[in-house]
């Protein structure tokens, strides 16, 4: 059985920040109908045309990221600037449970489909909008990408070595995470409607979600009056809360090779000191956390020298055998091809894409005993399912679809 079978999503999401939310819904059996603009081949979603590509071919059906985030969805095109396009959209909304989008604030409203209109079309509709700064507040018209959300919410600031510029995130963490909050919002709203019959609007702002992830830093500020911007902060890969030492990423044998080590408590340290078996590590002052915290610079210097002599995988194995939390820092090839723990989660499923062929994509990190998810069908090419959806959902037959195509509606 599919957990979300029978739930229909009228989906305007794109990029990662929106598309990953409806990817989850589709994987668990919801019917997700992506609606795109035929006049520009869906170019609003920049990932349609963006690298990586499977081969030398280019075009809106060949973006690797787009495929990754849109597996299992249906795709239709609809010109929403035309009267007939609007009419068809109304019919789709009338048969949908939920409308999702991550346009800039006000875009859907300007197309004539603001929340008030959606409710007129379907009184119990659920509407989840996901935009950077949200649909209210002084910055509601400001624009964002993931890195901008991370910058203004404190997430970028919290990633960096002391006295250096921010390192930030090497990817759009808040596109991923914004999509997670969008999915949570959609699922909670669906659940509420199932129990009460009541639809609603969820105004989800990636910046709000991002700031909420910094709640602990905020409390330290509101309760202890301590600003995060102060000498020695951010603290690199050290652990301030909870305090642990040593705790960091250390160089190992080879070029740009590293190991992460976390001494979670005194027992971990004693085990590590035992493996190291050198004079500096047997200093009794290091037996207590306070002693190790006070001497972190020296400890880290020693550990850098010590780790450098060994291969990262060998080091991980040795330290794990002694009971210490340690892990080789892995790149994409190493973890995707080499970490066999991912197989139990079918983490890299192969999907069949109409233009790209068979491609591996990100799976989901979950396993349901009774209603498992399925990821097997690639993302839709531009307008791939227009005929099918218009026929099966609205009873519009092929001659009429052909006419609509002539008129530029689909």
């Amino acid at each position: 059985m599919k957990a979300l079978k029978g739930i229909r999503v009228c989906d305007f999401t794109g990029q990662l920040a929106g598309a990953a939310a409806t990817k989850w819904l589709a994987a668990f059996g919801a019917e997700v109908i992506r609606i795109e603009d035929p006049t520009n081949n869906g170019a609003w979603d920049v990932l349609r045309n963006a690298q990586p590509f499977v081969d030398e071919r280019r075009g809106p059906d060949l973006g690797g990221g787009f495929n990754n985030h849109n597996v299992g969805k249906l795709g239709i095109t609809l010109n929403l600037k035309s009267a007939r396009g609007k009419e068809i959209l109304e019919q789709i909304i009338a048969k949908s449970d939920i409308v999702t989008e991550n346009f800039a604030n006000g875009v859907l409203e300007r197309l004539g489909f603001g929340y008030e209109r959606l409710k007129q079309i379907k009184p119990d509709i659920i509407y989840v909008s996901n935009c950077g700064f949200g649909n209210s507040g002084p910055y509601q018209d400001f624009k964002t990408w993931g890195p901008i959300v991370q910058a203004v919410s404190g997430l970028t600031f919290n990633s960096g070595l002391p006295e250096k510029e921010p390192a930030g995130w090497g990817f759009s963490y808040m596109d991923h995470t914004g999509a997670m909050y969008m999915a949570i919002a959609a699922l909670m709203a669906i659940y509420h409607r199932m129990r009460t019959g009541e639809g609603q609007w969820v105004d989800m702002a990636c910046c709000d979600s991002a700031l909420s992830l910094n709640g602990l830093h905020v409390l330290d500020y509101t309760v202890n009056g301590r600003p995060a911007r102060r000498e020695g902060h951010p603290i690199g890969s050290r652990s301030e809360w909870p305090a642990m030492a040593p705790h960091g990423i250390y160089p190992t044998q080879g070029d740009d090779q590293w190991v992460a080590i976390a001494c979670r408590n005194d027992e971990d340290w004693q085990a590590l000191a035992g493996v190291i078996a050198q004079d500096w590590a047997s200093d009794p002052a290091l037996l207590s956390l306070q002693g190790r915290l006070a001497d972190q610079d020296r400890l880290d210097n020693h550990l850098e020298t010590w780790c450098r002599k060994t291969d990262k995988h060998a080091l991980q194995h040795r330290l794990q055998s002694a009971g210490i939390a340690a892990a080789a820092v892995l790149d994409a090839r190493e973890r995707i091809e080499g970490d066999m723990s991912s197989a139990a989660f079918n983490l890299w499923p192969t999907v069949t894409h109409s233009a790209m062929g068979d491609v591996r994509v990100d799976g989901l990190p979950v396993r349901f005993s009774r209603t498992p998810h399925e990821i097997s069908q690639g993302a839709p090419c531009v307008g791939e399912h227009t005929e099918k959806v218009l026929a099966s959902l609205l009873g519009i037959q092929k001659p009429e679809v052909d006419a609509l195509r002539e008129e530029g509606v689909v």
């Binding site: 624009k143 991370q150 090497g170 990817f171 409390l219 202890n224 652990s239």
Partner: protein
């Protein structure tokens, strides 16, 4: 009404699932947090109020356990185990992050849980899943982000410097968000057919699929990306997008414009500030207004597109060299350019926009005898609002209340040391 009103969730206190309980509790579920009698480990996590260690004054505890009730129960003892099972029988959902095998060792394996309780939804969060070749590894938030591929893509252009693990518990949060999505998905499935199930969430797997380009560039094109200062890791070195402004603070200048309209807006903004006179590449911005849309995939291939795009990046950097970070953010955004000031968390919290969005929430904090400002909701529901319904529980605060609801006398358990 709350979205999750009437749902009972049993959460076994653990750093790997505290956020799961909080997200559900703040939406109205009755989350009963079960701690050992000596108190959960998280109560001893920094920071503390005034930096004085006290299990009732850990801000870590306060933040992650809002809106929950709390009981202290030694569920590894036979009496405590029986009481926990009875509590689980009264619940819709069990959320836990025990090490693989720990529940079965306490006679709370699948046979006793989802095997016997057909409506129960049991979500187990572990570093690598309950089985598989790495299930018994020793881990922390840091090691999960290291082995999961997050750390290697965060850091600086200079690869002599180590990769950086962003601080803030994100190695756990990545998996915890999936756990909440799983709970909600299983609840919807249960509305259809009244059946529960067991769900496993792997933190390592969650990190692996939270790396954007890093994973799918390998999957699609078998290429690896390299970390770069303050911007996306890439297969090739890209131009810097993070710049220091005249006040010493940093901004992220985002992705340059790609449409004629956006180049027009950028040019007007740039000229309005008088920067064009000192910026020789202004001519390329003008050329940008001649292209209806710039295809980003042609950067590095098409000379003109590359020059236009580079000039736009440099124009943003130039503006930074003449303005404070905040002024740059405000002025460029008002011109329609997606850029951001790099705030610390508390600076963001005090920004007028986040205040207007209700991100400052006053909560009466009994330990301090006054209101404390907490961070607000990650999403704004129209009909079923998020709220902090109570502060994090003190140790054993609701032991009597909760156990009496399921017909258990807390006092007799307490006498045998199985409750507090």
């Amino acid at each position: 009404m709350s979205a999750l009103k009437g749902l009972r969730i049993v959460e076994l206190a653990h750093e790997r699932c505290a956020l799961v309980g909080k997200l559900l509790a703040d939406m109205g579920a009755d989350v009963v947090l079960v701690e050992p009698v000596e108190g959960a480990a998280m109560r001893r996590y920094e920071p503390f109020v005034d930096d004085k260690p006290d299990p009732e004054r850990s801000l870590h505890w306060w933040h992650y356990n809002t809106s929950k009730r709390g009981i202290a129960l030694d569920w590894k003892s036979p009496e405590g185990r029986d009481a926990l099972l009875k509590l689980i029988e009264s619940a819709d959902i069990l959320v836990e992050a025990e090490d693989p095998g720990a529940l079965a060792a306490a006679s709370l394996g699948d046979d006793q849980l989802t095997g016997a309780l057909s409506r129960l939804i049991h979500v187990s969060i572990t570093p690598f899943g309950p089985d598989g070749p790495r299930h018994d590894e020793h881990t922390s938030d840091l090691t999960i982000m290291a082995s999961g591929g997050v750390a290697i893509v965060c850091g600086y252009d200079d690869h002599e410097l180590p990769p950086v693990r962003p601080t803030g518990g994100h190695g756990f949060a990545m998996g915890e968000h999936y756990a909440v999505m799983s709970v909600m998905t299983a609840l919807i499935a249960r509305e259809f057919d009244d059946g529960g199930q067991r769900i496993d969430v792997s933190l390592n797997a969650a990190a692996n699929i939270t790396t954007e380009l890093a994973s799918y560039t390998w999957l699609v094109a078998q290429q690896d990306v390299s970390r770069q200062t303050g911007r996306h890791a890439g297969t090739v070195l890209s131009m810097p997008s993070q710049h220091r402004c005249i006040d010493g603070r940093y901004v992220n200048t985002g992705v340059p414009p790609r449409t004629a309209k956006q180049y027009r807006a950028m040019l007007d903004w740039f000229r309005g500030l008088g920067f064009d006179k000192d910026f020789p590449e202004t001519v390329f911005l003008e050329m940008g207004t001649q292209h209806p849309i710039l295809e980003l995939s042609k950067i590095g291939i098409d000379d003109e597109i590359t020059a236009i795009f580079s000039a736009a990046r440099e124009a943003l950097a130039f503006a930074c060299s003449r303005m404070t970070a905040y002024d740059f953010f405000q002025s460029a955004q008002k011109a329609g350019l997606p850029v951001g000031v790099i705030y610390s968390p508390d600076e963001a919290f005090e920004d007028e926009h986040f205040k207007a969005r209700g991100m400052q929430v006053e909560v009466a904090q009994p330990q301090l005898g006054k209101d404390v400002r907490y961070v607000g909701a990650p999403y704004a529901f129209e009909k079923t609002p998020w709220s902090i319904s109570r502060v994090a529980p003190s140790l054993g605060e609701h032991t009597d209340e909760v156990l009496s609801e399921i017909g258990i006398n807390a006092e007799s358990l307490r006498k045998r040391g199985a409750a507090a």
